[in-house]
């Protein structure tokens, strides 16, 4: 067994659900910092995160998490001792208070000493800014607060690996900024892998971005490299261009076109969203051809 300081290594992982291929030979490396998974619905992001959270066993492939092998039962327990996991749809015991819920998860995470456990629960609730509503029933809290409770449980025990499935979903802009700041801070000395639909999350949080589509990885690089895929392919015009791969109206009433620009077009600096859409459009074009 190698040391605990390794990151995430995934090689050739496959997973099928009946006739649906969720992961078709995915390979990925992630180390200290924040790695973002981006992709359309059904791309396989959640399945990949479930594999990284040890709650899904792949059909085949090779996985190492923090240097441990999740297929080995002893190693799997060691991984789980160092793991914080935020699933896509976390449900709660509605009668629990925020404190009771996180306390319950702390028991699952082997925090047996009651006083130390309560201190740790207080710490993570304070970390997500919910210390003042710790005694409130979860059913009385807003969806944004519930999402922060969900994140608080993932932070229990100061995990070395954080697997977060759409952590900013349901948050208002202020809460999202707060959360992004916290994730960035956590990523300074941890491995964080998160899935998101929001390209703003990628640009704000990630040093490493992976784009998935139809169970495969179609891009693996930095956010700058992703936006660079659309360099020279984005232009702004007064109208929708008929030859554009994608075209959408901006808040200023102009049209942002993506594709091969006509001569004399006013080229724009590409964003991560442009790069992502350019990548997906190229794949659609390739599939059609």
């Amino acid at each position: 067994m190698s040391g605990i300081h390794g990151g995430v290594q995934v090689v050739g992982v496959r997973k099928r659900f009946g006739r649906t291929c969720a992961l078709a030979g995915v390979s990925l490396d992630a180390y200290r910092g924040v790695t973002g998974l981006l992709g359309p619905n059904g791309a396989g992001k959640t399945t990949l995160l479930q594999v990284l959270a040890t709650v899904m066993t792949p059909d085949s492939g090779w996985v190492r998490l923090l240097g441990y092998d999740p297929a080995d039962s002893c190693d799997r327990t060691e991984i789980r001792r160092r793991l914080g996991y935020l699933p896509q749809e976390l449900r709660f015991y509605p009668a629990f208070t925020a404190f009771e819920f996180v306390d319950y998860v702390a028991v699952l995470k082997e925090h047996t000493d009651r006083r130390a456990r309560h201190r740790e629960v207080s710490r993570v609730l304070d970390a997500v800014g919910l210390g003042t509503v710790a005694g409130a029933p979860i059913r009385a809290l807003s969806s944004g607060m519930r999402q922060r409770i969900a994140l608080a449980q993932a932070l229990l025990g100061d995990p070395r690996l954080l697997v977060l499935d759409e952590p900013t979903t349901g948050l208002d802009p202020e809460q999202r900024l707060y959360l992004r700041d916290m994730i960035l801070h956590l990523g300074e000395d941890r491995v964080i892998v998160l899935a998101t639909h929001l390209t703003e999350d990628i640009s704000a949080l990630c040093h490493h971005v992976v784009v998935m589509n139809a169970g495969t990885i179609t891009f693996d690089g930095t956010p700058e490299e992703l936006s660079g895929l659309a360099r020279g392919k984005v232009w702004v015009a007064a109208s929708r261009h008929p030859e554009a791969l994608r075209s959408w109206r901006t808040a200023r009433g102009q049209f942002r076109n993506l594709g091969d620009p006509p001569s004399g077009a006013q080229l724009a600096d590409p964003t991560i969203e442009d790069g992502y859409l350019s990548l997906l459009s190229a794949q659609v074009r390739k599939a059609v051809a």
Partner: protein
Amino acid sequence: MSRHIDTALLSAYARDETDQATSMALEAHLATCAACRASLACFVDTERQQRGWEAIRGAIVARRGALEALLAKAGMADGDARLVAATPSLRASWLIAVSVALGFAVAAGYQSANGRLVFLVVAPLLPVAGVAAAYGPRVDPTYEIGLAAPLSSFRLLLLRAAAVLTATTVLAGLAGLMLPGPQWTAVAWLLPALGLTLGSLALSTVIAPLQAARSISLGWVVTVTAVTVPAQDKLALFDPLGQIVFALLAVVGSVILVWRRAEIEQGRPG
């Protein structure tokens, strides 16, 4: 405990030298007594004091429900009591539903000579349903988080299954005492209940827990019908030979469950 906490005891608490039960009692008092909190401050430095307040805040907001308090009082470890108290099939609504079902089954016992059969068929199904709803995908809201946590899922399943079995056994046992007819019929459902529950748990390592419970329940009803309809003695299935078969089923179910425990640790079929 006297009106205020003894200084020697406060000093021991500040040094983390009190046992869990004493600490809990002290924290309950400290939460409401400013004088004792002020006295405590003399024994601890600022950092320890802050940690102490966090523990006290925990004691205040981490209230215990009736079941959790009962389990803790019965000697169950604090964490285990919390895990068991969260069991979906130990909620008051579930236990009331079980009681109502038993009430109808007992009432059926008074309707005809073979009415006791209704009770003997229904009683073993209640723990099967309760255990299926105690832990697993679709029934436990925190199942996925629990699976990603280091605590053994197999241990959690056994803890909750034992708690549900105990609760339903007590309820069905009390209901059985109200049955008319021979005394042995009041307990003749016990081994079938154990056999069916362990059989269902063993099957749940292959198929989803709720599906396993449905399959076992259907199999039970079909077996009872097949055996009792042609038989002269409608309770023949519950005679000593039948009880031996149910005991064997319980043993086989236990062996399979332990043998396939890795399936539960990795994630039960959904």
